[in-house]
Symmetry: C2
DNA sequence: CCTTTCGGCGTACAAACGTTTACCGGACCC
DNA sequence: GGGTCCGGTAAACGTTTGTACGCCGAAAGG
């Protein structure tokens, strides 16, 4: 039901995408708040006034960027979890997929890490919303019928499950930020970070498994 | 051995402090990178040119701010851990102290959260160094003679201990960021965050305790 | 006491900024 | 085929920016 758009709308979308990519490129150096409207327009190859044909201000462009970035991660992670149910396996694969995603779209994740706490308020808000969604999806997956984690987690309070999943999501984003921060072309350092992240995630899982144990 | 300074140097220190506080106040709205030299000078009550008498640029001011902020947290946490040795107790008290510190110097922590990934490179670097120190101190405390955690952790690989402590430090900063993000005057929300953070920290501890368990 | 030091002031300037306004030309629609 | 829509352009505006220069007056120091 996607109406194929005429050359008109297609060209507009493409320019919009140029703006998004330009902003992404520029945020590798300073945060979005200090990227000027003129700067991003220039990098996208249009005149400053043209910017307003797509976004009312830079902040709105940021919100669009958030949705594009984290939306992609969400669908990627959903795919990972759909075919496997063992929690240890899910953990290991999740970190792998995260690392792959980060490598494939490094600038996107740098942007998210940058703006999560540092950005303008509407951008921060958009990120928080997307991360909440990520946590919700993780929770329903962990509680779903096939999941081995479900046998443990079903004995938990619902709120506690959310505490767990939000911790996992937080850890995921921290890991992404750490990977992004590693200087380009140092695979050894990156591997060390991924290794640590896997251990940390497994540690969370072990903790969850023994959460209700006596002593 | 602290030479009491004349009115000359005292006044200079005070102006410097005004600059730091002004920057702290301004970073509640935008990140340091988009705070202009003129803006912070104006807020501190001096003329733009006077700024150069204290810092060569805004970034250097940021580095000074990092040391003041995280230095304070480090000494506060050191005090907490020195008199108690039970890990569960340490965990609970650490979160309490963190919450107290955050409440007492909210702007400082907002600044750290903001700039940790979003800031200018030298500022990010300074934060990373301070957090590494925090992790190191935590590691030696946990391995020290009196600590109950030591009986478990001494069986670990050193690198794994560092993986654990860096995770705890990360979690601490995330918690601080979350507390800071809560709209002012909503103690219920803040309490919920602190509660969740305590549970998460305990979960980490439980995980660590059972780390080497079979299955 | 007389000189040096130095934190802060005032002025200046070129550059970059956000935003507005009028205009162009090709896709769009009837 | 003719009128309308609309993405992009060009020029102009008032502001704010970073940085440089010379000056002042009081503390510091011999």
């Amino acid at each position: 039901m996607t109406h194929t758009l005429g050359p008109r709308a297609a060209q507009k979308l493409q320019t919009r995408q140029s703006l998004l990519e330009a902003a992404l490129r520029l945020t590798e150096e300073h945060s979005l708040g200090s990227v000027s409207l003129r700067e991003v327009s220039r990098a996208a190859g249009i005149v400053p006034a043209g910017f307003y044909r797509h976004f009312p201000d830079v902040e709105s462009l940021g919100v669009a960027l958030v949705e594009q970035s984290l939306g992609g991660l969400r669908t990627a992670l959903r795919a990972v979890r759909s075919d496997r149910t063992d929690s240890e396996e899910i953990a290991r694969r999740s970190v792998q997929v995260l690392a792959r995603e980060v490598r494939a779209r490094r600038a996107h994740f740098r942007f998210i890490a940058r703006e999560r706490y540092g950005g303008m308020s509407r951008v921060r808000e958009a990120i928080r919303d997307q991360l909440r969604l990520l946590g919700d999806e993780l929770a329903t997956d962990l509680l779903s019928d096939g999941a081995t984690a479900a046998t443990v987690l079903r004995r938990w309070d619902d709120a506690d499950v959310r505490v767990l999943t939000s911790m996992i999501v937080d850890h995921m984003i921290s890991t992404a930020a750490a990977i992004v921060d590693v200087p380009a072309g140092r695979p050894a350092v990156e591997r060390r970070i991924i290794n640590a992240a896997s251990k940390q995630l497994r540690l969370i899982i072990v903790g969850a498994r023994h959460w209700l144990d006596p002593t």
